[in-house]
Amino acid sequence: MLEEIVAKYNYWIYVVLMMIGFYAMIGKRNMVKKLLGMNIFQTTIILFFISTGVKRDAGIPIVDKYAGLAGELEVAAVMNPLPHVLMLTAIVVGVSVTGVALAVLTRVYREYGTLEEDEILEKIGR
């Protein structure tokens, strides 16, 4: 059991971080805290994807141009560039989602005067 944890400790860290975000999303009453939880969740996914591209003792995916032109690049010496590309997309989409969510929260606050979920439900009359 302990060996299993030590060998895969990075995945355990991701799961713990992800569950912090998940609990904030479903357990908290405040809308801003929910948004923060969603951001933590998103960041954990990004961390997880980046870590799948890691190779031990490898360099960053910026290579020697002349070695590449001659076809002398070693695949094991360069990290996997594809997770980086995908996560660059995910970061930008995350910024957009955060911006729109903050705008909607501003609007909700202007309408109801509060960001607590139960108080808003009370004011709607349910």
Partner: protein, 159 residues
Amino acid sequence: MRRFREQVQNTEGGTDLIIRTSVRLMVPFIQLFGLYVIVHGHYSPGGGFQGGVLLGSAFILLALAYGVEYSKKYMSEFANFLTVNIGVFIFVGFGILCALVGGFFLDYGAMANVFPMPLPEWRYWGVFVVEVGVGMGVMGIMVSLYWDLASAGSRKEGL
């Protein structure tokens, strides 16, 4: 140096004198670094998104230290609108241009029909054109997001 001090002291509004002075000093270097990140993205970590965010952060810093109104003197709302739309237009327009000159959509190699260059070189420069478009779009959107969120939509006075 004296002119610089007058410039900092004579602007009304904003926050502390130390913050205003240091922001005044930092903004040109941040903008220079943003341009470097965009144009040097082929050889070092960087690219359109990162450089665009850096360029936008220079204006956001100005808006934080001096107020939203003051930052609009350096980038008016119309200029912001124009930057965003030109950025998106460069990207999509370059893709359509590639399709018009006899390739697929966003197939940079087809531009060799217009200006003869080897295929890898055209892909290199095609990525550069696209990155400039991305940088302009991201810069404008970042500044506009900050203006709207900091002043709750009025864009008059912010944080």
